[in-house]
């Protein structure tokens, strides 16, 4: 390999460029240009004569950064892929050190200490740490003989993921820290028990439901708890049927649940009202006792897992309220309350989300037209050119614009997953899944927040939001993938 590179440098470059996934590059260019135009729309009024490329405007600066991104991206394509693999750990180490240094030297900007200032120029190292972590994780998984088997093997990868989280929490940038939890998808793809992912999903769902429906009572207990307990019953049945593949146990438990439910319903019809907790904590323990007896005739481990899952679910449900009211800070409680629609606080904490929803909702099907948005241009939507940039698209381009952007992102993410699966090396595949996971997280959280489905977590919309650090961070993340992907054929012949 080494000598061919020296002799046929030109030749190889041409071959390489031909192998680059231009489809992804095309989507990338669409997204960054649309982003800069949206920034122009968000920050300029229709009467203004200012050019989109005026370097004094946000849009002009963003175009400048886009230009530099192209240079960075092209340069990254020219670097030998083996260097990324070889220097993955040093890069990771340097970035961790940089994060820690930043936490201590950074000035306080809106409560966060995540910016490194160089004169008038400042960068946010956390935006680049994502790439470093992805590289380190890919390097780890590509280590010969490394496999996720047994809990000890999780220590190092989880450590690699959690180290930047801790550093970023030190910088008080909670939003950026949460991104790394998306790498659970990578662990899942690389062999982590799917049950963990399922449990995570259940935990998030239970958390939301318990808080969201805490206000109304049914059968003398909060509606949220009622729904969660019902869910737990459904999950027990589903796990018995699908996970344990025990049709007999599943059927019997189902029949038992239905009989008990009908009994309770019948009693309430004749005026005997049973407290919800009495009902659930009679029925569920009874079913658990039945399962504990029945498991010896069946797959002992799996039924036991089911029982343990049910018990932990119930404990989790009761701990949600305690955690929410005693562990979370008031502003965090507020954000969650607003996202869940529990609090209608339109003047203070909920102002951003409400105005953001007004902006998007007022766009209608076709939008108000380029530069015709009022919500964004009159500053009703805060952070309109950074975290809330999606509002401008919603207001000026309407449903057509928002769905186009969403679908474009969906295509990009699915493309990245496809790229991941066509890699011949574990390094390439793991890195690609890291990219996909990070994009999934940013898209889900940012747009969910803007349309009021997810608590306000200050993270940018990739390629759209204003800011050099964010744009360059995602550009580097993506173009390293493209560089790795461009030589996949080489390994095919290896």
């Amino acid at each position: 390999m080494a000598y061919t590179k020296d002799n046929n440098n030109n030749n190889e470059s041409n071959r390489l460029l031909a192998a680059v996934d231009w489809f992804t590059v095309f989507i990338y260019i669409l997204l960054v240009v649309a982003g800069a135009v949206s920034i122009y729309a968000a920050t300029t009024s229709s009467t203004s004569e200012v050019s989109m490329f005026d370097l004094d405007t946000f849009a002009g600066k963003q175009f400048m950064w886009i230009g530099l991104s192209f240079v960075i991206g092209f340069s990254l394509l020219l670097i030998d892929r083996r260097l990324y693999e070889a220097y993955a750990y040093p890069i990771y180490a340097i970035m961790i050190i940089l994060l820690i240094v930043t936490a201590f030297v950074s000035p306080n900007i809106k409560g966060s200490h995540s910016w490194l200032k160089f004169g008038s120029f400042s960068i946010q190292p956390a935006e680049f740490t994502k790439t470093a972590t992805a590289l380190a994780l890919a390097k780890l998984f590509s280590t010969y003989g490394f496999q996720l088997k047994g809990w000890r093997t999780y220590i190092v990868p989880v450590g690699i993921i959690l180290l930047p989280v801790l550093c970023i929490l030190l910088e008080r940038e909670t939003g950026s820290a949460l991104v790394y939890f998306s790498l659970i998808f990578v662990l899942y793809r690389e062999g982590m028990n799917g049950f963990v992912l399922f449990a995570t999903l259940c935990a998030v769902t239970y958390f939301v439901v318990v808080l969201k429906f805490a206000g109304t009572l049914i059968m003398g207990i909060p509606l949220g708890n009622f729904i969660v307990l019902t869910c737990i019953m459904v999950v027990i049945v589903l796990m018995l049927l699908i996970y344990c593949r025990s049709l007999i146990l599943g059927r019997n438990v189902t029949i038992g649940y239905i009989v008990c439910a009908l009994l309770a319903w019948g009693l309430s019809a004749i005026g005997v009202h049973i407290n919800g907790y009495v009902f659930f904590f009679t029925v569920i323990p009874l079913s658990i006792i039945y399962l504990l007896i029945g498991m010896f005739r069946d797959d002992l481990n799996k039924v036991l897992t089911t029982v343990i899952f049910a018990v932990i679910s119930i404990i989790f449900m009761f701990s949600v309220n305690i955690v929410f009211h005693h562990v979370l800070a008031p502003h965090q409680q507020n954000r969650i309350n607003i996202a869940l629609g529990i609090e209608e606080d339109l003047k203070d904490k909920g102002y951003n989300v409400n105005q953001s929803k007004i902006a998007i909702g007022s766009g209608g099907f076709t939008g108000k037209g380029f530069l015709q948005g009022t919500q964004t241009k009159l500053n009703y939507v805060p952070e309109q050119h950074t975290d809330f940039i999606f509002c401008t698209i919603g207001e000026e381009q309407g449903f057509i614009g928002t769905s186009a952007v969403l679908i474009l992102f969906l295509i990009l993410i699915l493309r990245v997953i496809a790229i991941a699966e066509r890699q011949h090396t574990t390094f390439g595949r793991v890195y690609a899944y890291c990219v996909a996971s990070i994009l999934i997280f940013h898209l889900t959280i940012n747009i969910g927040m803007v349309i009021g489905l997810v608590p306000v977590i200050g993270i940018p919309l990739p390629f759209f939001s204003y800011g050099g650090s964010s744009l360059w961070g995602f550009t580097i993340l993506l173009f390293i993938l493209l560089r790795i992907d461009a030589v996949r054929t080489e390994y095919g012949t290896w």
């Binding site: 009024s45 009467t47 998808f185 899942y188 793809r189 690389e190 062999g191 799917g194 992912l197 105005q355 929803k357 007004i358 902006a359 998007i360 909702g361 007022s362 766009g363 209608g364 099907f365 009022t374 919500q375 009159l378 500053n379 009703y380 919603g394 207001e395 309407g398 449903f399 928002t402 769905s403 969403l406 679908i407 992102f409 969906l410 993410i413 699915l414 997953i417 991941a420 699966e421 011949h424 090396t425 574990t426 899944y433 996909a436 996971s437 999934i440 898209l443 889900t444 747009i447 969910g448 349309i451 009021g452 489905l453």
Partner: protein, 678 residues
């Protein structure tokens, strides 16, 4: 390399996750952007700020096109609280001529959202209103040193003449009640509305139509420009100008000669019903109720015991006295109670069944015209006596109702509906009224005979008396008196062109006019005998418990094709011939012959002489006592009549004063001591 195909399937879970998320988001976006319209409206109301643009208020001219009321800009010191930095309060107070405490109080009131409902830190808030021009000039010079401060311009009313305050009225800021009552939803807090006078009665025309400017407002409330380049703006439509029927010079002349007296002068052009002058005295300078001292001046005027805000010309209900006699002559003739040959005896008065109403020296028996000319009490008492007791009616109830209906047809007993607020209806009693007051079947013609000579329960406004004069001048009809000749572009309401015919034939009016002419030539109104002007007149002298008699004159001129009809009512001024006649004569002369130095001098002399000889001022508490605590049904015998030289000197019951409430059905209100039983 090794590939785990079992694990590869997990791409579907990961890919499926993001597909589900995107699907949920698309559904939510559909819900926000397409299914729900409310966000569009909220965004519009967020971004648009509608600013009301005020039309200029209509100006007011007199009948000869002289500008009487116009608009002038006024200046307020305003500030945007957010933009105000630390400033030199000492200099500011010095220029505003305010003490520091007063300035601080103004500041506190401005920034207290409870007191200043429109308070916002980002929009201009008024601090000091109605700066005078010197303060304005000095402030302009140093304003640059006070960031956040500005001067805003408003329009205020200005008056070219110190006259006609009672007609013009004034404007004031609307209050909560105005806004609540406003069926057009025109007013918003801070608007001005007419208060009193034609400013009130013609408010709808004067105010015009508001316009609006639609502006773009950002999240902090700052105005960023015009919405849609001002294409959706609506320009205000200026209020309509009014041309009054008032001759402002005549009005001023009338106010001049009434200076120092209490009472009213009403002059009407009989052919049109246009009021030429509507003088009330005492009056006030209309400019007092403009600008920053309005509140202070207004309370001063309200608490002034002479009640300058009370328009005696239309609000005061006085006994008409002898000016009432022509109406009686007309009714008797129309009803055939008398004819040209009828004479009644009057030897020193009306003496019938033990009742005596005094009169004064004149020949007896006497016929209608000389009775008018000499203002004979006896003639009209006998006339009413015979009418009410006439068998043809079949009872007192019917005959009295016939009498009452004639009076109503002549404009008495009800409001004439002049185009000014607050008009009094006067009072004409009906049969039921006396039943209640005296008792059913307990009264007869003699019990109420004094109404024949305009005393007793009869009440009328100077306007109603002038209207009677105009009706006689027109020989039988009147047009509702009005002070506005036309509204620009709209003309005049039909109400003010309609002829109201009385129930009496024209020929009988000729007789009355003849009698009134006789009164001027050789009767009680000799003082009004202006050569060449053919004045017709009738005096009245009304006794009252507050001091001297009220002096009344009613007349018109010339006798044929009359140009002006007039009523002069002067409180506590003595005999009609002494004061009201010469004043009336001056007004007639001034109007018919035009302005001259000679008549102005005469008026000044009158005015001055009166001021030296000012009558005792009636104390306010006494007046109130009269109206509220008058004993009911006290049948005290009044003091004996003192024969006057030319008019009835009739013992009068306690007179309701100008602030009297019109007695309605409550009989207890009026005492009966006006009936003289001898």
């Amino acid at each position: 390399m090794r590939k785990d195909y079992n694990l590869e399937k997990r791409k579907f879970i990961i890919g499926g996750f993001i597909v589900v998320v995107v699907a949920i988001y698309l559904w939510k976006l559909f819900d926000l952007q397409i299914a729900d319209d409310k966000y569009r409206e909220i965004a519009v109301s967020n971004a648009r700020s509608t600013k009301i643009t005020h039309p200029s208020r209509g100006q007011i001219y007199d009948r000869n096109g002289k500008l009487v009321v116009y608009n002038e800009p006024a200046y307020d010191l305003v500030l945007v609280p957010k933009d105000v930095q630390e400033f030199d309060t000492t200099t500011m107070c010095k220029i505003l001529q305010l003490k520091r405490e007063d300035f601080d109080l103004l500041w506190k009131n401005m920034s207290d959202p409870k007191k200043n409902k429109n308070y916002s830190a980002t929009t201009p808030q008024p601090l000091v209103q109605n700066l005078d021009s010197t303060t304005y000039g000095r402030l302009q010079e140093i304003l640059y040193r006070f960031p956040g401060f500005d001067i805003s311009q408003r329009i205020i009313r200005r008056y070219n003449y110190v006259a006609a305050a009672n007609i013009l009225g004034n404007i004031r800021e609307v209050n909560a009640e105005d806004i609540e009552r406003d069926s057009d939803n025109y007013y918003i807090p801070g608007d001005y509305t007419g208060d009193l006078g034609i400013e009130k009665s013609y408010e709808k025309y004067l105010r015009g139509v508001k316009g609006k400017e639609i502006l773009i407002r950002d999240a902090t409330g700052k105005i960023k420009g015009r919405y849609n380049d001002g294409k959706d703006d609506v320009a205000p439509i200026a209020g309509k100008d009014l041309q009054m029927s008032i001759d402002i010079d005549l009005q001023r002349f009338g106010e001049k000669i009434m200076r120092g007296k209490r009472g009213a002068i009403v002059a009407i052009e009989p052919s049109t019903g246009e009021v030429l002058a509507l003088v009330t005295s005492p009056t006030y300078d209309p400019s007092l109720l403009v600008g920053k001292d309005r509140g202070k001046n207004y309370s001063k005027l309200v608490s002034d015991p002479s009640k300058p805000l009370f328009d005696r010309a239309i609000m005061a209900a006085y006994p008409p006295g002898s000016t009432f006699k022509p109406t009686q002559g007309l009714i008797f003739k129309q009803e055939g109670i008398i004819d040209n040959n009828t004479s009644y005896p009057c030897y020193g008065g009306y003496v019938n069944k033990g009742l005596k109403i005094g009169c004064h020296g004149h020949g007896s028996p006497i016929a209608l015209q000389p009775a008018i000319a000499t203002s004979c009490n006896g003639y009209f008492c006998w006339g009413l006596y015979y009418m009410l007791n006439n068998k043809k009616y079949g009872g007192l109830e019917k005959s009295f109702t016939v009498w009452k209906d004639y009076m109503v047809s002549m404009g008495y007993g009800y409001k004439l509906n002049i185009d000014l607020p607050g008009e009094s209806r006067g009072f004409i009693p009906n049969y039921q009224f006396y039943n209640k007051m005296i008792g059913e079947d307990k009264w007869g013609a003699n019990s109420i005979i004094s109404i024949a000579i305009g005393q007793g329960e009869i009440m009328s406004t100077p306007l109603q008396i002038a209207n009677l004069s105009a009706t006689i001048a027109n020989r039988g009809y009147y047009i509702t008196p009005h002070v506005v000749k036309q509204i620009r572009d709209l003309g005049i309401s039909k109400e003010y062109t309609e002829h109201h015919r009385t129930k009496i034939n024209t020929e009988y009016y000729n007789d009355i006019a003849g009698g009134m002419r006789m009164a001027v030539i050789g009767g009680t109104c000799k003082g009004a005998n202006l050569p060449g002007l053919d004045v017709c007149g009738k005096t009245g002298t009304v006794q009252n418990p507050h001091g001297r008699d009220h002096s009344v004159f009613m007349g018109f001129a010339p006798k044929d094709n009359p140009k002006i009809a007039i009523c002069v009512y002067v409180e506590n001024a003595g005999f009609g011939a002494q004061v009201a006649v010469p004043l009336g004569a001056m007004v007639l002369e001034r109007y018919l012959r035009g302005a001259s130095d000679e008549i102005e001098n005469r008026a000044t002399k009158w005015s001055d002489s009166w001021l030296e000889d000012a009558p005792p001022v009636v104390e306010q508490d006494q007046m109130q006592e009269d109206t509220t605590t008058r004993p009911s049904n006290t049948k005290t015998t009044a003091s004996a009549s003192v024969p006057g030289n030319d008019d009835n000197s009739f013992p009068v019951r306690n007179l309701p004063h100008e602030n009297a409430v019109i007695p309605n059905k409550s009989s207890s209100f009026i005492s009966r001591n006006g009936i003289y039983k001898g």
